[in-house]
Assembly symmetry: C2
Homo-oligomer: 691 residues x 2
């Protein structure tokens, strides 16, 4: 059985019949718009206006109720006020309606009563199988069949452009803005959905249901936060399998905006870098700029087709100044432009291509000649040092658009992606290239944003197979128990020995100096109760340490049950890191590597991936953490054992494939990184496990 | 006497007569274009085509030579090949021509012969007073009088829009691209100059000469690198005095692009953060995005007018999603959106303004009503917690542009800057607002870029008065001599004592442990010759240290004359920084604060300003260096003495006001930061001083 539920997408985008419940007689009012818009756009299905108070609305027959209709409508848009919504959904479900869309707000974002209403909606959906879009949904638009089923005022303007992009947006107002901007950029849509507050259908469900729609070639997600990650993941994996790019614009990169999104929708906004790892690890293309949304699809398709693995960009230009802007913007995003190889320069010379070749190939004015540009592009696209080529076209793109784009059009089926950036305002060239499906960009910034985004998109990670166990309450393990979990995962930790708290001393299996720590599942934060004694040099000090721990515990945690003391050698690494695994409520299992100590507080110097990760991916994470460059042999110091760290990260992340361990969270902090060849050692660990 | 040389700007932008030397008969050729363009654009001055080989060009009488003309032309555009340029300039000078523009390339960027040619040009200019634009200049355009004196093919298109912006560009091809983009955005120009390789007239000269032109309200500088900083500084200071904003787009933020700019022009590209400090300290508005160039002027004017000192932004919106995009982009650039105060919320409530108020004021659809938006803007603009207000307007900006902009137009003369971001594509509203001079933005990114740029622009710093002494060769001082310079500046350093290298020991004025260092003007890098012995605990070890230093010096620097050993107490601070002053060849005197130790290598964690700086500015520099957050009382540690550091930075920077010290460079590395109240101490210093 396919995981794609066609019935949802049918009722959503191709309904045969629609009921407009509570439609207003005034087409200027929010509740009156959908009827007017549907009529104006020539929607050919059956429309049933329902208004118990009027026999006519907007000049049409109005029905008194859903049950009075001559047929069961496929899709009901509930336009009536909040307090009428639950009965309306109930009635729809009883009649066998497949999908209702709810315009009203006033659910979980607005207090206890709203939470109760939302629960009722969920119960109805669960018990009857009816699907719900919203609440707070401004509706659905499908330009291919005139389905302008929306209360968004922007759709008063006729002529939503048809095209390849399907949009699912948390923000209802944005679907109108996106249409206007797409129109201006010559980009059209295969559907737009305002998903609202996702009581039932969420972004993932909706997009997944449309995956068999041949009109849809790519997805644009306008996200206020990461919600319903499991559904989004299922969609992203299936979209990747089908080669349909998923482009994401996510708000909340800053805490200020995250806070706004939270207020706006009632959802809790997670941390952006977790969402970022989620999007990229699931192969989505996360762009940073609004207008990149309309420009990146052909490039994302080209990259998916070419199976691009490396990130070496070649640039050919007719204007050095224009090219420098693109190179600059790329570099600022961490994408390096590759210089031309000697061999490529030789070939260009042989072909008598004029211009200067170095970091980029600058053809200057000669590049405006068809033969020169064509030959230059051919040599650049064939050069093994490049995985993608960017052509930066100057004034000819505006003055002679046909001439300027012709050599580029020759490479429409090139094996490598070819992107075009137009330096002047050049609407004709832009339109021709866009219509031909050639990646082309209006500004150096969207060009660089798009390239950086398609390169940052990761191949579907190992995390595709992660299992999210159903963990209810979890409790902390003692440090010794935590090390037992690490042992199962082959994550190295320091030697230790445990002794009763009541002991006066101990014979140790390792040398002094040592550290003595309270070891209890009830005291996860040992230092807060004075539960750690450092730098114990000899048996006498050890005996004193036992006494100190007993005394501190009596004072600061008299109720905590603690029977054990854990003793470890005092160790010092070249540096310290934090390695943490957890099941994030939105993103699922994640693994994090962070700079240790005061670094972590000062800089947000950390790298996150969906778990599990391979050793290769763990190496990428290590490269992400800037602080770890301090142990890469700088200033004559030895290297840290980063290979062992990579192995340990990967091993810890395997918790995502071991649901039987029932671990919700496992944090090694600190993990000591020793000199190369000496490995890494966890010297403290906290594990949260289901009972 | 005014520092503005009107004769340059007159010959440049308003010449009465022009000679086109070497003009081609073919208007399609580069050398034929200026004649065609001037004719097409209706330039009313006298044009003298000069071509020794033809009696006619493009249907006009051609003159055989400059000296054959009936008058001395005000401006000569030399279109002939490189090898004819020097004689042509010489002849022009002899005739009394005020300004020549040189199209040809082939000067200092192309080998020794070119360097020689360039020198000849400089000599002619110096000895005769003729001014030279170029070489490699594509010419000059002034849309107000039809002066399309350019070989840039883009100007084949008629109708360069008239307006307020004057453009000076290192890249000649970009002036065409800028015109087309300005046209598309409804922004016009008061002049455009392709400055080429600046043999004589540079960006600063050219712009300075135009400052009295009432048509010019703002400057756009398209810079490939920072060159002729002294002239740019003179211009920037004078422009600031007159309230004419200077907007800069500078390439080379990345090393790749910097390298390209260098190849392109033959100039050496400096480090971008020095250029950045230069631009911002001189009050220029440095934007990061190409299209911000066309949008930022009214905002920069408003900020200059309001004398904005704080950076608190208030946001009012008709669409929460749209506003979140702006907030997000602002936050990513370090600009925080200020929440509404309780008092402001109370006033809004009192005025019965609907919507939600928190981080921003979201009026939702109600904001499309004139009265609501007007009242809301009024309350926001009057609220003391905001220094600037951004209105984010949704679909109404497209559907009802007149209605949408009307309430905003009411505040055209508000005391605080009011900026507008339009969420949909809304060309009419954009055009109306642009024409009215109201800051308005087409994308959330340019909106945030512009706001961040006008806020990053600094008030004219103390550096306006810096003096750049004419320092020829400079030589290193010994460490002891360097401390004497620090003493003059009141920059604290560790105690020290010097002894002859031949000594066997010494009686110290401070306690052990100490460090012994070779002290010689000839050995600036002591560690490289084994010239430092650390951790000397007692007189016996000190005696041994003298022997070690003698032995190391004999082996590794036998020719270095070294008669002294400098002894200092071994000291340890909470952290170490580098504080450096130098006269940068482009930017002039600068002061730098950088993280010390391995941080400096791993992160480019540093802050640069033009010198001198006040203690206040030094505090800002300290806030810029992330590593210094580690000594701000985190984790219960004491604070570092950052006040003393600020004082020391400011004191060192005063070198820029003490030309009599003839210091070219003074680097304290490391400077120890002690616990609050205990100050800072230089424990090594290197000073380069003119003989």
């Amino acid at each position: 059985m396919s995981i794609v539920e066609h019935s949802i997408s049918h009722a959503l985008l191709y309904p045969q019949s629609i009921a407009l419940l509570g439609v207003s007689d005034d087409p200027g009012k929010t509740g009156g718009r959908p009827l007017q818009f549907l009529r104006n756009s020539g929607y050919a299905g059956k429309i049933y206006p329902i208004n118990p108070n009027r026999s006519q609305v907007q000049g049409e027959k109005a029905w008194p109720s859903l049950s009075a209709l001559p047929e069961v409508p496929e899709h009901v848009f509930i336009l009536s006020p909040t307090d009428t919504v639950v009965p309306a959904v109930k009635e729809s479900a009883q009649l066998g309606v497949k999908l209702v869309t709810i315009l009203a707000a006033g659910f979980s974002e607005s207090g206890e009563e709203g939470v109760q209403r939302e629960k009722e909606l969920r119960d109805i959906a669960a018990s009857t199988g009816i699907r719900i879009l919203g609440p707070s949904s401004l509706g659905v638009v499908n330009p291919s069949n005139g389905l302008v089923l929306t209360a968004n005022a922007a759709f008063a303007e006729p002529g939503v452009p048809k095209g390849k992009l399907f949009v699912a947006s948390h923000s209802g107002s944005m679907i109108g803005a996106l249409v206007s901007r797409g129109k201006a950029r010559g980009v059209g849509f295969a559907g737009l959905v305002s998903v609202g507050s996702e009581v039932d259908l969420c972004v993932g469900d909706i997009c997944l249901s449309t995956l068999d729609d041949p009109a849809i070639e790519g997805y644009v997600l306008f996200l206020e936060s990461l919600r319903h990650g499991d559904k989004l993941k299922a969609f992203a994996l299936e979209a990747a399998r089908r080669g349909k790019p998923v482009i994401a614009y996510k708000l909340g990169r800053s805490s200020a905006a995250a806070e706004m999104a939270a207020t706006h929708t009632g959802a809790l906004a997670g941390e952006d870098d977790i969402a970022d790892a989620f999007l990229k690890d699931l192969g989505m293309v996360r762009v940073e700029m609004l207008e990149t949304l309309f420009e990146v699809l052909p490039l994302a398709q080209g990259v998916a087709k070419s199976g691009l693995r490396q990130k070496n960009i070649g640039v050919v230009a007719t204007t050095g100044g224009g090219a420098a802007m693109v190179v600059d913007q790329l570099s600022m995003r961490g994408v390096t432009v590759q210089s031309l190889s000697d061999e490529t320069q030789r070939k260009l010379k042989e072909a008598q291509i004029p211009g200067t070749a170095g970091r980029i190939l600058d053809l200057t004015l000669a590049g405006t000649k068809y033969e020169v540009m064509k030959k230059a592009l051919q040599i650049m696209l064939e050069a093994p040092e490049f995985d993608m080529v960017v052509a930066v076209v100057g004034s000819s793109a505006r003055l002679h658009p046909e001439l300027a784009v012709r050599p580029i059009m020759e490479f429409i089926n090139a094996d490598k992606p070819l992107a075009v950036m137009l330096v002047p305002d050049a609407p004709e060239a832009l339109s021709t290239l866009t219509q031909a499906g050639i990646p082309c960009f209006r500004t150096p910034e969207t060009c660089a944003d798009a390239i950086a985004a398609v390169l940052a998109r990761r191949e579907l990670s190992e995390s595709a197979n992660a299992i999210v166990p159903d963990i209810g309450d979890a409790h902390a393990l003692s440090e010794a128990q935590a090390y037992e979990v690490l042992d199962k995962l082959q994550v190295p930790h320091a030697d230790y020995a445990t002794f009763p708290l009541s002991a006066d001393g101990a014979t140790l299996p390792f040398d002094y100096p040592v550290v003595a720590k309270i070891c209890s599942a009830h005291i996860p934060h040992k230092t807060e109760v004075g539960g750690v004694v450092l730098g114990i040099q000899d048996p006498a000090q050890l005996s004193q340490a036992f006494a100190t721990l007993r005394s501190n515990l009596r004072q600061k945690a008299p109720n905590a049950m603690c029977g054990q003391v854990l003793i470890q050698p005092m160790l010092k690494g070249m540096t310290e890191v934090l390695v943490g695994y957890r099941i994030d409520p939105d993103a699922g299992p994640i693994i994090m590597l962070a700079a240790g100590g005061i670094w972590a507080e000062v800089m947000r110097d950390r790298s996150i991936r969906l778990a599990p990760v391979s050793v290769d991916t763990a190496r990428e994470m290590i490269a992400d953490v800037k602080m770890l460059k301090t142990v890469t042999g700088l200033r004559g110091k030895p290297n840290g054992d980063l290979e062992a760290l990579a192995q340990a990260i990967s091993n810890l992340s395997m918790l995502a494939l071991k649901p039987e361990l029932k671990v919700r969270e496992a944090e090694v902090n600190p993990m000591l990184v020793l000199v190369e060849g000496h490995g890494v050692l966890a010297v403290d660990a906290l594990v949260m496990q289901a009972r």
